[in-house]
């Protein structure tokens, strides 16, 4: 049974209230650092920042609609090898889920971290955020939540919550030790702290939080958000299916690709130290390019772009958490997240697997079950 | 070809026509028969029902007699019960020397000794193995074309000793029937039991077997058999079977040599259809002579 506490400081707004809370957390003796999105001093861009001094936590801004990268990669860096100190990390649900996948792939470790998850109403693409934040980045979160929590997706200046976020059906954190909830509350000031794991509950107690029940309004708000998102997700997947259901259409869809590999750098679960596409496997002889060109009369350069995306799909579709960073990173605006979310949904449901759901579930491709996909494998028939 | 002929009791009584037709047909095919002098009953199924030793000693007496005769001749038995009883002696004394000793003790009373040197042959064995359908065909002068004949083998020429035919699905009569011009009536009752002496000891059980066979033969023109007991059961109890099944059976049950005689153009006296209890006119009309008329 989770422990829950409502934080509601009458004199403070959400922003200041959160800052106080996290200062309190970082002040705990056994928590040595906090990794959280903060507005940077120079240009107020929101980036994940590793803080050890609680006094520097004022610009903490976890609800800013900015999502420059999936922080699971950062947590991986902090925990891949034993570090010794305890870090609290503030993560969006999709970041937690990506982290869980990475831990399964031995790219991170949960032992020395406290995960503080947040309710996630979504975020803009990087360029859109800059546009939206404009001159007043410090109010961006407040402005955004005012609309987003009442169901708005489009905002001033024509910016829109990213497609991946609008299709996301995991707005509430799973697998976090502590969770910060804002859905279904008075978003101006209130937030809900809940502890779901043993680690979280211990911290909860030491923080001296007082217990309370979860307000009914929260459940209703989440349900209504989910139904909108599911509908959008379905439309999106139908649309992508139509656009890419033949090899030719797929090639057209991906034709803008320039092999910059930004998407794989941005992808939290693309964990290879070096991608196979930059190894000698694809270091073709010059003779080879000419031979290909001769065979068909012409060949698009660079080569292997569709192959690259298909390979990436094969490698990560069972681990894809749908965070949308691939689209975010694409310089040529290819709708990669739509494509990857759709393919991930198919492959994960085929294995009855959900990326990031649980540390206990082994990645499907490391598990051998003799009786699966009989119709595909046709062993001995 | 020459055989020692052992007709057995039935062929002197109820199966007289079998005796006569067998001799006539074999004669016509150039086979010589020397009847065993002073033969006695083989014990039929009755000896078995009363005394184990008698059931061997009685047939053994006849084999011992045959052994006294010159030449290396086989004993020919047209009656399946006789055949089996003689065959049993032939086979069992090999397996059980003690039995041979006991038999010979009994045979002493007749001044006979059994050595076990004679082979007993069934009439059907001789017809199908020694003579062959080809030779029979060449003796046919009035082929019984168009007759559908149900071959009925009964039990004892087939079982328990599988000597000349498949004991479950016998076929040995078929080439002979075909050589006579007849067509073989396909059924699977050829090797089934007719009830044997149950017709006397437990008629309520026996009659069902008879009726079952007659039912299955319904579309045949005649049943042909090589066993007096079977012939009797199938022929003589048709009335009772009819009564039980509320139907009217009128199936001619002929001995195989009778049908052969008809096709080979032998005379009535050599065939003696008149001795059969049931030869409906309908059947006679189908015979080649009738067709000619």
């Amino acid at each position: 049974m989770a422990k829950t506490s409502l934080c509601d400081e009458a004199e403070q707004n959400l922003q200041t209230s959160l800052a106080s809370f996290f200062k309190f957390v970082l002040a705990m003796e056994d928590i040595h650092a906090l990794l959280a999105p903060m507005r940077l001093p120079a240009n107020e861009r929101v980036m994940h920042t590793l803080v050890t001094d609680p006094e520097l936590l004022d610009p903490i801004d976890p609800f800013a609609p900015s999502f420059p990268m999936n922080a699971a990669r950062l947590v991986s860096r902090l925990t891949k090898r034993p570090g010794g100190e305890m870090v609290a990390v503030v993560l969006r649900p999709c970041e937690i889920r990506a982290l869980i996948e990475l831990v399964k792939l031995k790219q991170g470790d949960m032992e020395n971290i406290i995960i503080v998850g947040i309710d996630c109403p979504g975020a803009f693409k990087n360029t859109d955020y800059v546009e939206f934040a404009g001159e007043n980045p410090e109010t961006a979160a407040e402005r955004f939540l005012a609309g987003a929590l009442s169901g708005e997706t489009k905002f001033d200046g024509g910016v829109e919550i990213s497609a991946a976020c609008r299709a996301c059906t995991h707005p509430v954190p799973q697998g976090a030790d502590l969770s910060i909830g804002i859905f279904g509350l008075d978003s101006d000031r209130q937030f809900l702290v809940s502890a779901d794991t043993e680690k979280g509950k211990a911290l909860f107690d030491r923080l001296g939080l007082s217990g309370c029940d979860v307000p009914d309004s929260r459940r209703e708000a989440i349900d209504s958000l989910l139904s909108v998102r599911r509908e959008f997700q379905k439309e999106m997947m139908d649309d992508i299916q139509k656009k890419t259901n033949t090899p030719e259409k797929l090639a057209t869809y991906l034709s803008g690709c320039i092999n910059c590999y930004n998407c794989r750098v941005a992808c939290p679960v693309c964990y290879c130290r070096e991608c196979v596409f930059v190894t000698d496997v694809f270091d073709h002889d010059p003779f080879q390019y000419l031979r290909w060109a001769r065979r068909k009369g012409m060949i698009k350069m660079p080569t292997d772009t569709v192959f690259y995306h298909i390979t990436r799909m094969a490698h990560i579709s069972t681990a894809c958490v749908g965070c949308g960073q691939c689209s975010n990173a694409c310089p040529n605006d290819i709708g990669l997240s739509e494509l990857f979310i759709a393919s991930a949904s198919t492959s994960q449901s085929a294995f009855d697997y959900e990326a990031g759901r649980s540390l206990e579930e082994d990645p499907p491709l490391t598990v051998f079950r003799e009786d699966e996909f009989d119709d595909v494998v046709e062993v001995n028939h | 070809m020459k055989y020692i002929y052992y007709p057995g009791c039935s062929l002197e009584g109820t199966a007289l026509e079998y005796n006569i037709s067998t001799k006539s047909v074999l004669g016509a095919l150039g086979v010589k028969l020397v009847e065993l002098d002073d033969w006695t009953c083989c014990g039929a199924t009755a000896a078995e029902g009363t005394s184990h030793l008698l059931s061997f000693a009685l047939p053994a007496r006849n084999i011992a007699l045959a052994e006294k005769m010159k030449g290396d001749l086989d004993v020919l038995a047209p009656c399946s019960a006789c055949y089996l009883n003689l065959k049993r002696v032939e086979r069992e004394i090999v397996l059980d020397p003690g039995l041979l000793k006991k038999i010979n003790q009994v045979l002493e009373t007749e001044d006979l000794v059994l050595k076990g040197k004679r082979k007993t042959r069934h009439l059907l064995d001789v017809l199908s193995s020694d003579i062959s359908a080809r030779d029979i065909a060449s003796a046919v002068v009035r082929p019984v074309n168009g007759l559908r004949i149900a071959p009925y083998y009964g039990c004892q020429c087939l079982r328990p000793y599988a000597v000349f035919d498949d004991p479950e699905k016998p076929r040995s009569m078929e080439p002979i029937l075909v050589s006579l011009g007849a067509s073989v009536y396909e059924w699977d009752m050829g090797g089934k039991c007719c009830g044997a002496s149950l017709m006397s000891t437990a008629p309520e059980a026996g009659i069902k077997l008879v009726a079952g066979i007659l039912d299955a033969a319904q579309d045949a023109d005649a049943v042909v058999t090589v066993c007096p007991m079977c012939q009797m059961n199938l022929e003589a109890y048709q009335r009772r079977a009819s009564k039980m099944r509320k139907t009217h059976y009128a199936m001619p049950i002929l001995y195989l040599p009778q049908l052969m005689g008809l096709a080979m153009g032998l005379t009535d006296e050599q065939i003696r259809l008149d001795l059969n209890l049931c030869v409906p006119d309908g059947f006679l009309h189908k015979l080649p002579d009738a067709q000619a008329v």
Partner: protein, 1142 residues
Amino acid sequence: MKPKIGRALVVGGGISGIRAALDLAETGYGVILVEKAPHLGGVLSQLDSQFPTNHCGMCKMLPLVERDAGSQYCLRKGLFHENIDIRMSTRVAAIEGEAGHFTIRLQKQPGFVDPDTCIGCGMCADVCPVAVADEFNAGLSRRKAVYLPVPHMTPNTYVIDSAACSRCGECVDVCPTGAIRLFRQGRADFGVLVVDDEYTVRDSIKEWLEEEGFFVEAAASGEEALDAMEKQSFKMMLLDIKMPGMDGVAVLKKTMENYPEMAVVMMTAYATVETAVEAMKTGAMDYLMKPFDPEDLVSKVIDVYEVREASMGETMEAGAVIFCGGTECYDPSTGKNPFGYKVFPDVLTGLEFERLISGTGPGGGELVRLSDGRPVKTIAWVQCVGSRNLQLDKDYCSGICCMVAIKEAMLAKERGHEDLEATIFYMDMRTFGKSFQRFRERAEKDFNIRFTRGCVHTISADDKTGKLMVTYPVEDSRHMEAAFDMVVLSTGQQPAGGVDKLAEMADFEQNPWGFARSEPFAPARTKRDGIFLAGSFSGPKDIAESVISAGSASLCASAAIHAAGGGMAEVDGDLPEYADVSLQAPKVRIALCECGATLPGGIDMERIAADLKADPAVENVFVIPRLCTVEGWDMLVEKTKGKGYNRLLVGACTPYVYTRRLRQLGEKVMVDPALMDVEDIRSPAFAYADAAAGDIEQAMARRLKSGLSRLREVDPLPKQSAPIARRALVIGGGIAGMTAALAIADHGYPVDLVEKKGELGGNLNWLTHTIEGYDVRDFFDNVRQRLEKHPRITVYVNSRVVSSFGAVGNFYTTIETSDAPSRTLHHGIAILATGGNEAETTAYCCGQSDAVITQKVLEQKISQKQIDCKSIDTVAMIQCVDSREEPRNYCSRVCCTSTLKHILHMKKKNPDLGVYVFYRDMMSYGFAETWYTEARKAGAIFIPYTVDAKPQVFVGEKGDPPVKIKAYEPLLEADVTVNADLLVLATGIVPALPQSLADAFGAGIDADGFFREAESKWRPVDSLKEGVFACGIALSPRSVTESVASAEAAAQRGLRILSKNALTSARVTARVRHSLCSLCERCIDVCPYGARSVDLDMQKIIVNAAMCQGCGNCASECPNSASVIDGFFDGRMLDMIDMVIE
């Protein structure tokens, strides 16, 4: 490589023969594998699926050490190993000499098709006018007289069925490679001399033979004949016996003096037959009796001609012989045939059924009635056809049919009509093997297969529905009739035809059931030293048992060769040293075979050559007119002698033909054969035969380019090897452990034997006799003495394994002995022989009364004379106590036999003793069936019970009988009560393999606590982790003799490794490119051989190359090719694919 020191002959190329040959070959011996059929695989070449996996899996038998010495693809397709010399269509004619030094004479049947030249194109079969029943499809389809014996062989070359062939010669004319010789052409050179004083005889014979193309001379007398022989050479003489002047016998004598090679056939009349027989002692080959049929005479001459010209006798040396002749299936059409087999088309044998549902079967696997082609919706299996049948003199259980029937029923359910119903009619469902009971329950529960206890006695046809009516008794003695579309007869196994002749020739005995007889407690041995038995040749066996017995036989053979001075092969040195080309850029030389002039018209090899030369990696391309000829091969050798290249690609026909020859070529021209390859360019030429020449050329070029890509990327680095500890550790000192230890030590390697108790022997300490009457104690004493005296065996009693680490070749195991410091042993292999014990129970009032005891206690009481059989009236026994139901849901295999043993013993002491046995299924498999019959004959009454209605037991008060058993008797349809003096419970066996011990060696344990084999059928004594083996009861319940077999098999598996100084990894193994590796460890999870581990200090994934089998799981799991398989590097694979689809 050095010539092999020891060599063994393996007779029979079925599963056990292949296993024995591979075992010996892997250990380093040379093997001659002789098979009388034209193909290997025995009956398994016809069976696609095996219980309990219902897949094949034969490939799991492929060599695991020194893999490069053999082929690494489907074993049903073929077998290649450097050390195995395979002789098809060959029989053993004589075995002389003694163990260690046998002289073997082989006789090869005439081969009309040269397998080295035949390319399997099939043009011969297309024109062959003769069609006969195809034995591969169990006669369900037809084939030509020239045919492929098995459709899936590689290389698949045609053979001619000499009996069916009419010698018309059509095939010879169309064969594109001239592979077929009917030896007709040579007939004119085959001189036949006909000697007879009668003009008409000699003249007509002359005429007949001349018509057949022979050269014939006639002679009217003996003198004339001798003259003729001086003038001209003849190969054969037809010689009349009775002639005026010099008679036939005199001529024969003279001829034999002067022309001993002459084949003389005597011609005789009835009166002189005896003389003719005498003449054969003088040297005549045969005789013919006058008057003769021209056809007989002509075919006799042709036979002689063909045998002389085409068949080859050969004499070889071998140190030991293993007979693996297998069995035959009972033919239900013989005898009384109550099931109408071959009468009703829908009555099939199991083998026919398996062919019918096989994809390579006559109907492509569709399950339809053979009578009318309608779909099969109901099938019945009838068990024990030709088994357990005293009438057929088969008082044994074939052992395998129950499981085969269950498997077939499952296959039918899987592949047949969706609502197909399957029923198995049985008397006892003998699920006595490991996991069999659960397999049966899966069939019953998950597959809804019906099991009906009852012996089918009649099958008839219903003409209206076309169905088969099956009549069977139900337990309450009524009879049921049920309709089925198809009936499958589970035909039993019987001794292979010709066992008696082989027995006479090789001087071994047959057992009372007609199989080859093995010695007590030595299942692979015959009475003749050096002659061994494997597989079902000595009695029905399933695959696992056959594989074990093959291991046991190879162990014995190896020991025999070793004892006679032939050592284990040392494979060091003498390997040709090829230049290291790893730093050179690939330079490929290409040889193209034009295949005579047989390729479709218009193809220009030079054009293809020019196309290939465009690739900068190609050094040169040259064309050879016909590679399969001697001249062609010489030309290749010539053209590859020059320098300037470092890889060779040959474009020719079926590549497998050349694999062996490339090795020879490599040694000649000093290019590593691993850097050579053959690409099949002939198949595309014919696949596109109708296309334009240009298109065909492109197709051929595509193949070659693909081969080129493959070759370009071959890693030229030499193989690695690692030294090993040539010492074995055996854990458990029961019969299995002792046997294994002795077997290894006898080969000269030290063995450490660890036993947890204070004394050796395990269960042998209480067993006294086997059911056959063999004395277990004598046997035990013998083994113990030999073991204790053995200089190479160190025994540690009161000891246990504390921990172990390492891998094949180098294990480090720490053992703890009471009252002594612990010590660490360094060993190359480990054998787990931890055994098992009789299970304890509290069921059926056991423990509440002295009158209720277990079978083990009974045996002890009998041996200690604590039971006076004469003083008791009635004994009851209950089988399967706590067994064959959850949680101990397995059959303990030995209990029914012990029960029978005790019954027979007690009945012998007291024939009037009443014996009542309550059983579920009597598991008297194999020859134990005879003892079951004997127990019945002795008067024991067997009463079946079910799990739902177990017998009830009451322990008596004063005055009552000591124990009272109430149960339902289904045949009498009534309850029965047995008032017994003694109740004996068969509680079965529980294993004694601690989890911690298994874990220490990386071995698995199954649900019941037994050792988990790498594969239950094909690798029954191996762990998935190489170097760890198990035997005896640790594997599963088994008898003393069966334990010996498994122990010898495990020892043999170990010797494969210990016989090497170092383990050399194969060319195809996995490697990690550490710079790319993210250490996600997924590759470790997916490696089935436990060959991978992570080194946390080095932050590296480590591959044990000796354990890696190159399966490729890791490479396909690794997303960025950090894990690669040598020889299958991504770039090369992509390149090859690219070339093929160009």
